[in-house]
């Protein structure tokens, strides 16, 4: 295979031009970027699922041209005047510059195989996908819109940060706010499919991400309440292999399916066909 030859050549030269090559965090192999991208950003060797940008995720899941973003102008505020070594405002500014987004969450409308729906995601690259007032507000509005329009809601979570520390208890209360909005959507008979990606932790996992009627997870994602390091420090022993992974949660009965990224759109369409028959 041509890729293999180039890889050998490159490893001989012991340098990786950043724009063409990437190293797999799963198996440490040097991979040709285009090959990874052609495979929905999954490592061909170890099936490691690379982090997707929100637009890549939309490309992979939604019908072409169906996506309309809503409330994109919502912007975080430093209500606490949080001035650590780096202030919250500076952190926000650099996250905005890195991602070109105003915060860690995108919500809008779109279609999957013709099924109209509200679609949302957290971006784990923006302050670790943590939930502050803006994320909480967008999630709540998404569910309110879905309730009003009688639409299903599909949400892809990726959040290592959980509730955003820099907004203190305002972040904590977003957990209650999003869960309350989901309760209303559920009471109105709405369908919510929650998709967990690497990582989904803390306050995001202990609120909206856990409340799907159906919960899917990408393989080997880190999913849980407390961070592994916090647990290790508390119990003073090291954690078993595979702890807090998608497969671990499947084995303990908390999620419905572990789904490879390549099958995600097909499986979503099938679920929507089963559970939202009237919109077909």
């Amino acid at each position: 295979m041509a890729f293999e030859k180039i890889k050998k050549f490159i490893s001989r030269k012991k340098q990786i031009p950043g724009d063409l090559w990437t190293q797999c965090p799963g198996c440490s192999k040097t991979l040709f970027k285009r090959e990874v991208e052609d495979r929905k950003k999954v490592c061909p060797d170890c099936q490691y699922h690379f982090t997707l940008t929100p637009l890549e995720r939309i490309d992979q899941l939604l019908d072409p041209g169906s996506w309309t973003e809503l409330w994109a102008d919502l912007e975080s505020v430093d209500a606490l005047k949080f001035e650590g070594d780096v202030s919250y405002l500076k952190k926000l500014a650099s996250a905005m510059k890195e991602t070109g987004q105003k915060d860690a969450c995108l919500v809008g409308t779109g279609k999957i195989e013709g099924h109209e729906l509200v679609f949302g995601q957290t971006d784990s690259r923006f302050m670790m996908g943590s939930m502050g007032s803006v994320v909480g507000e967008k999630v709540a509005r998404g569910f309110e819109l879905a309730t009003e329009k009688k639409l299903p809601l599909v949400f892809v979570s990726g959040s290592g940060g959980g509730a955003r520390m820099f907004e203190g208890c305002l972040s904590l209360m977003q957990m209650a706010k999003t869960s309350a909005a989901i309760a209303r959507h559920a009471e109105a008979g709405g369908l919510f499919i929650s998709i967990l990606t690497n990582p989904t932790m803390g306050g995001v996992m202990a609120s909206f991400a856990a409340l799907g009627d159906v919960i899917l997870a990408e393989p080997r994602a880190l999913i849980g309440f407390a961070g592994p390091r916090v647990i290790e420090q508390t119990i003073k022993q090291s954690l078993p292999k595979g702890f807090q992974t998608s497969e671990f949660l499947l084995a303990h009965g908390f999620i419905d399916r572990v789904v490879d990224r390549s099958c995600l759109r097909v499986e979503l369409a099938k679920l929507l066909d089963y559970l939202v028959p009237c919109s077909a």
């Binding site: 912007e75 209500a79 070594d85 869960s179 309350a180 306050g203 856990a210 702890f243």
Partner: protein, 336 residues
């Protein structure tokens, strides 16, 4: 009360005077000398010191007070505030979590379902209560009892006092995040009034898991925080010993929480803190609960639920639209 004494630098002037009073009292009794006027003077000075010191407590000092093992715990309020407690055990699935105390009781003529986090007093009790850190079965137990209360239209009163939901292997295996999330969802729609009081530590999701409420109250020297000051300091500076600085940043004190629109009422504590006069604290708590119960039961249920939804729906600060309109739940001093 427990017998663990806690050293807090900022209380030293008070403790010194109190010690002197004790000495004088002992001496006056032994020697049969009347020292009452001296003792009275010292008492007045102690009170003056308390007023002065407690008027300017910083965030970290409040955290220390909130964690004081001598502070009244849920079990103390069982007799100070409530009557006729009938404990109900178990989560109907896995076990009976000692960190979550649940049962029926009365307060000021109301029947209520009490759901209270419990830290325990003696070392043995504290171990049995896992130091106030519930496992998933604790949150499930809380919801089971709240469901029972809903069925019979009995208001729910929750007392929050936890360093946080337990971070352990079993807790993750049994779905800590999933159970807490479910509580948030179900409490938002529970068809009976819910009143919550943070009586000590309000540790993040572990606290929130039982305090989605129509009214969220907090004692003057309690705190509610998205992360422990130690955890915050570890993230910011890789140094948990900087917890006092982190406590300032997190805006976790009752006054700040009220300004942010997170809590509804602050309940004043007796001079020098709840542990110095548990009875007075109990009276204040009872009066506040009865007042809030009166209000909550007067509202038609649908209205109550609408209000509960709106209360949480509004919490948050952000800018919206080109005019950069500020949407805010409270009004921080000076505005953001």
């Amino acid at each position: 009360m427990g017998d663990t004494s806690v050293d807090r630098d900022f209380e030293k002037p008070i403790l010194e005077i109190e010690k002197r009073i004790e000495e004088l009292e002992a001496f006056s009794q032994k020697a049969g000398v009347d020292l009452s006027s001296e003792i009275e003077k010292l008492r007045a000075r102690a009170n003056e010191q308390k007023r002065e010191i407690f008027a300017r407590l910083n965030a970290w000092q409040r955290v220390l007070l909130a964690r004081d093992p001598n502070r009244p715990d849920s079990t103390d309020y069982l007799t100070l505030v409530f009557e006729d407690f009938l404990e109900l055990h178990g989560d109907r699935a896995v076990g009976d979590d000692g960190a979550m105390l649940t049962g029926l009781c009365r307060v000021g003529g109301f029947r209520v379902m009490l759901v209270a986090q419990r830290k325990g007093k003696s070392t043995k009790e504290r171990v049995a209560c896992n130091f106030g850190s519930p496992h998933p079965e604790g949150y499930r137990k809380a919801m089971e009892k709240m469901r029972l209360a809903e069925k019979f239209r009995i208001p729910v009163v929750t007392l929050v006092n936890t360093p946080g939901a337990y971070p352990g292997i079993g807790a993750e295996e049994r779905g800590q995040a999933f159970i807490i999330a479910k509580n948030l969802l179900e409490m938002s729609r529970l068809r009976t009034p819910i009143l919550s009081v943070v009586i000590g530590e309000g540790g993040s999701g572990g606290a929130l898991g039982i305090c989605v409420a129509d009214r969220l109250m907090i004692l003057q020297n309690a705190y509610l925080s998205v992360i422990s000051p130690e955890g915050c300091a570890a993230i910011l500076w890789r140094d948990a010993s900087k917890a006092p600085q982190a406590a300032e940043l997190l805006r976790l004190t009752p006054n700040e929480l009220k300004e942010l629109g997170v809590v509804d009422d602050i309940l004043p504590e007796p001079l020098g803190g709840a542990h110095r006069n548990p009875k007075e604290m109990g009276d204040t708590l009872k009066a506040a609960l009865v007042r809030a119960l009166d209000e909550a039961v007067a509202l038609p249920l649908d209205q109550l639920l609408e209000k509960r939804y709106e209360k949480y729906r509004r919490i948050g600060y952000f800018l919206e639209s080109e005019q950069r309109r500020l949407v805010a739940s409270g009004a921080p001093p000076g505005g953001p």
